[in-house]
Amino acid sequence: MQVFLQTFIGGVSLGAIYALVAMGFSLVFRTMGLVNFSHGNVVMIGAYIASTFYLSVKLPFAVAMVIALGLTGLIGVFIERVLRPLENKDFDLMLIGTIGFGIVLEAVAIIIWGATGRAVPNPVAVAPVQIFGLRIRTYDLVVLAITTAATLLLVYFLQRTKRGAAMQAVAMDHEAATAVGIHVGRSNAIAFMLGAALAALAGGLVGPLLYVNPSMGGMLGIKGFAGAILGGFGSIPGAIVGGIAIGVLDSFAGGWFQGYSDLVTFLVFTMIIMIRPTGIFGERTVNRA
């Protein structure tokens, strides 16, 4: 029982990171109907920027995070700008274009920061919380709190602000939105910027948990994307539930199937998607007949 619960807690803590990654995927997808396959590599860039300002410039962790969010957001804007000619045209081509961006980002990270990576010390060095013999890292609680706050802010932005409402309108019907005077390009750029900022948040937070290196984006991206699909692509609550579900699934697969955990995780994922292709909450997608 204790192993079971502790495994679950371990899964949730990484799952919270996957959830942030998944949310970035979903936000971009629901706004412009694009799957950004470079998202995982944007997470990696965010992790590097955050750790650089934290370790090399010696800024406080929170400040480093804010800078990373801003800079990475700009990278998002850049990617959107380059791929803009393809928007609302060829879905598959854009998807492949983002794969190309991912390849470049990884190589650029190697050129700037080297191939070997770096360890980031835990900024919240407090002993783990103990309940009923279970141990929960304080840092995990911080991650969970930040994830929750980010989700609430995002939902507030989308539902209560004018800009957010405009983005929702673009998501529903970009032609009608243009007709009522909403700037679709700007809306897409904001979606991409927010998506990249979410990626940087995930990357910055995951740094002290793991190890920052140029290839860290691959797995984080794939698992985060799987989480977004599992929850219902484009749905914000779906991204949260799906991301955490992938984390937990992964954790138990590791415990029960040892070295074969990836095999099991992806087979289970494929089966769930085959049975329910639109995920737990259903796909929230742009209707492009």
């Binding site: 799957v35 955990s261 990836d262 087979l267 085959m274």
Partner: protein, 605 residues
Amino acid sequence: MKYRIAGIAALVAFAWYLPYQLDSYMIHVANVIIVFAILAIGLGLVMGVAGQINLAQIAFFGAAAYGTAILTTRAGFGFWTAAALAMLIAATIGLLVGTPALRMQSHYLGIVTLGLALALTNWVTNAHIAGGAEGISGIPAPELPGIDLHNAYFFYYLELVVFLLALAFGLFVVHTPLGRKMRAMRDDSLAAGAVGVEVPQLRMTAFFLSSIYGGLAGVLYAGLIRYVAPESFSIANMFLLLAMVIIGGRQSLIGCVVGAVALSLLREVLVDYPTYAQVAYGSVVVLTVVFAPTGLAGLPKRIRGLLRRVGWLPGDTGPVPKLGPFLPYAETPRPAAEPILRIDEVSMHFRGLKALQEISMTVNAGEIRGIVGPNGSGKTTLFNVVSGLYRPTAGRVYLADKDMTAASPHVLARKGIARTFQNLRLFALLSVRDNLLVALDQTSILSNWRYVLWQAGVWRHDQSLRAEADELLQRFGLTDFADSAPGELPYGTQRRVEIARAMARRPSLLLLDEPAAGLNGEEVRQLSEIVRSIRASGVTVVIIEHNMGLVMSLCERVTVLASGRVIADGTPAEVARAPQVVEAYLGDSAMSEDVPEIVETEAAR
């Protein structure tokens, strides 16, 4: 033609004498390039030709390479036996990976195929039989009597022969019915289903084909390197392969080969700077998708277009293509007035929206039936239910007394239903002739065994289809446009191509969704002539139309829909006078101007 044969001969001669130019390392590089070229052809077939995102091509490759390695070193099979079995393994995995394609598309398919590829890598990393992370070494070289295939130079010729056969077969598939259907499915899977293409089975076939190429490459790889390890089948290599196909031009198999050769050589040149090579090919992928989506293969055409615009090349000097007259069908005696289509209490709900509510109507054989109604009244939804795109929430649809409610579009197409679409759904990258050829081919997916065993039969079948297509083009006056892409044609001509494509099925029931939308007066007159002739040839026609003049003059009976219900049904004159119809139309501001037109037409009679 003469140039082409000379070009091919020169290339083959070049490939044949290439080894004499190369040292022992460069011949190895050439051998690896050929393996990647075969892989790229497979990926081009499934992604570029059939439009299915497949990030598991590297897994098919790995499965066959590992299959060969395990069967030769662990089970003691000879190389060729092991290779045959390994191909079988790769094909099985291809079908398994293709299964999700039945249910999902684009990005879903992307992540699922990627996940399955990772699962396979994970398995070989762990499994004792696959040698774990250290892989399997000591794979024996293939043996051929009299030829020492340990020698990289002889191996090159083996690969070259396999490659040429694989390429020829790939091109053969692309330009005959199977490949044409795949391209049609890629351009518009809904329209493909509506002209009888068995879309789900065809997706599986595409994955199967690509896995055969993956398997072929894997076997050659095992024989060439004689060592396998998990890293060689990693996601990074999958993305590299993807880059080859995209840069080369995914819709052209030759393009895929060029991409594979070009990128491999680039990597070889930058072998000491792999990070910069990565930046280079990643950027080229981004630039390609933005500026040259057709890749290197599409460049000559773009350059020609550019030169023509600057005036360095003469433009098309031939006569301006013209839409010919429609040649009417031979008339057949009108069939007995038996119901051919019966819709019984059909309802269609989308989440909260009730698009159709308990619709019932009957269409008799030989009739021209009009369906009118304000925008959003459910007309197109009704067509979508009848042609099998939607499964109704309640109610039944009978085709000549047979219940066809749950049938899929391609089954209904084979039962004699053909349709056109409100927003034109022609296969954009296929020529007008190819659009018709897809619809003309009535063979089922099972007949594709002939591709393996009896290619001449495929060829002959294709020739007879082409003859039929020429006749059909002639009948619809489209001969001048036969080789144009649909997008280059005037709108009215595209409408006519779509009707021709629907008639290529030789349907018994033709559904036309707003065929007159966007046509000028003369074109509407021609349309009306075409529809009458189609009816006279024994085909029942159901037509959705906003052009009341056309409806009133053409249709014998008219059904009026409003808010998802039938509100009137009768002859045009009866319907036009019905108070509920007038009210429904007045309630809809967009349509209110149509009402006087009805009266005018009535008066003119």
